[in-house]
Symmetry: none
Subunit: 412 residues, 2 copies
Amino acid sequence: MLAEIIAVGSELANGAVINTNSAWLARALQKYGLAVTHHTIVGDHTAYLRSTIKQAQARSQWIFITGGLGPTYDDITKECVAAELNRPLHLSPSAMDHVEDFFRNRQKPMTANNRKQALVPQGGEVLENPAGLAPGIWLEEGTKTIILLPGPPHEMKATFETSVAPRLASLRQSVICTHSLHFYGIGEAELDNTLSDLMASSENPKVAPYAKGGEVELRLTAQGESPAAAEKLLAPLTLSIAERFQDNYYGKDVGHLKNALAAALSDRELTIAAAESCTGGLISKWLTDIPGSSKYYLGGICTYSETAKQHFLHVSPKTLATESAVSADTAAQMAIGARREFQTDIAVATTGIAGPGGGSAKKPVGLAYIGLATADGVKTWRFQAGSLQCKSRDAVREAVAKEAFFRILKSL
Amino acid sequence: MLAEIIAVGSELANGAVINTNSAWLARALQKYGLAVTHHTIVGDHTAYLRSTIKQAQARSQWIFITGGLGPTYDDITKECVAAELNRPLHLSPSAMDHVEDFFRNRQKPMTANNRKQALVPQGGEVLENPAGLAPGIWLEEGTKTIILLPGPPHEMKATFETSVAPRLASLRQSVICTHSLHFYGIGEAELDNTLSDLMASSENPKVAPYAKGGEVELRLTAQGESPAAAEKLLAPLTLSIAERFQDNYYGKDVGHLKNALAAALSDRELTIAAAESCTGGLISKWLTDIPGSSKYYLGGICTYSETAKQHFLHVSPKTLATESAVSADTAAQMAIGARREFQTDIAVATTGIAGPGGGSAKKPVGLAYIGLATADGVKTWRFQAGSLQCKSRDAVREAVAKEAFFRILKSL
């Protein structure tokens, strides 16, 4: 069934606040078999909001509107819905009790404009908001259902979970399941080319590629009567794609290389340390982004000077003089030094030219060497980030860190 | 003038990816006097996208469409625009050169579907995309202007800044100048309360507060015939606000505490090292985010285990046993150890409980100690992140790093 989401608020329209509600809601609605086709943002503007509501009614069976339920003059959602549906606003005694309780419990005086939060369009059912004052509202109009939810994200989520999700579950006829397969080191076009047979032929399950941050994600979606039925459609497809691209595939629903690496280190009970130069702490940050990372991550050194490379990691002055800091030998010695000093199973090292300055014809911005020391010895890789892309410092450092994570993952 | 933004992509419609492009673009367009009234997201679906384009043409003078310019079968933006405007797609030789160069430089074969990225609706002008393959397109249709931009955020921003902003600037009739004043350690309501006289009274210059990531930014905007005229309105206001909140003010247009600290270290010719525990490399990353940071940043250690704290930083085993790793004494010894080992002018240390696990009644998640060692000795601060807000691991670590940066900045 088709649904759409309207988010109301001038702070969203002018870009001061990023709309996270609509994406959250779209994901949540999939569980109940509702596919969101349109998201709209309009400011606190009566004419724009009314025409958006009118349009949504003409095309969607389910309409979710977030925001604009509060007490101030620029909260206009209920007024606009009431006008479009020709259903006057009435005071809901239960909603009013909720508002009065709130102020009584906090021993604060209730200003008169708070009464506005208890107004409900005729025939609307009040949806409890356990996280705030303005309740949600459930309205049915012919075959259409219109659901109003508060705008603050934690109130929107709490109202949805408490008051909307159970009703949708009881109405649910089908389920949509989605999995993401993650690939590194292969282009979107190349994946698309190889998989075009699969992509074109199938609507259920459906395969769609997304490129992001130098990686490709394939999103597999299936609809079924139950989660098990949908999963049954996805399982063989997942397997065959993962096998076809096994050199580049690194995980299902893992979200980021760092999560795949964290899981692999945990599974194998390996400890790791990092010796960073060009990535400047990013590898350490990514490794420690994951709760519980102290089990496998013992620490890291960011050696941003040659002295620090010698002092902490015992990189040989001769290597630094003859090969320079950006070299395979330096990366190898950094990794070996970090593994010894932190006494870990493995250690990773990066050294390169993050830019924007410091590049040369022989060693351009984006060039990096990655070292990996293990019980079996040390390996190094030469990597060139962003040959044509704009080589922003951030982009280079992210690319080097991803390459390092992928290399470790495939070497374990 | 009224503008609207359409973001295309099923990953946006189904909520897998949060749309940050539209908010960024809405903010960017303000500079050129364009006010965004509607944002729409539609999936990769021809009928929905065509009707959205038709509707936008009926109501907005400026239409920005992001996404769907790539090489795959589900990239349909140009096809839909071409169909709605009745302008057939042609191959643009300059865009094709750009695509071919890309593959030539990488010595990779170009698959045939990449040709699609060089197609342009008749009459459309190619907008250089310095960060990727798919160029933007500028189309004029009567009094309407339709601008297509690539979907990946870094490509969208780079294409806008390089190829769209200069054209919008040349069309602009008046100039809007904006400055951001940055404050740390003061709430939005408190700033708002103190400045309500200024905010209510003035439309030009205008003052608006934005809370973000535990900080407050005051945006000062003035409109004038020339940049100089607008700046003249802003200068005295900037000065008086910076003075009124001097304890919390840390910079104009600096964007982030890390930039303010980098400038201060450079100006004073001081070198710095970092010893991190709970921030896990984030301080090192922030310090090295800035090009040329190797002038003042010599390196850092992330000591995620007690052994590493002793081995590298000489934290006393007795302190770790009696005071624990999360204590003022440990933070002080870490800072002193890092300053000595890296031989820097100053060193900063953090130790705390990033969560989600590991907290206790006495030492809850979010508690951290910050140490700062200088030639004058060592100072420490106790800091509790996220006293009321939700304490995500990321939020705690960012809050601790910001507190550390602000403390250093005010101690220099």
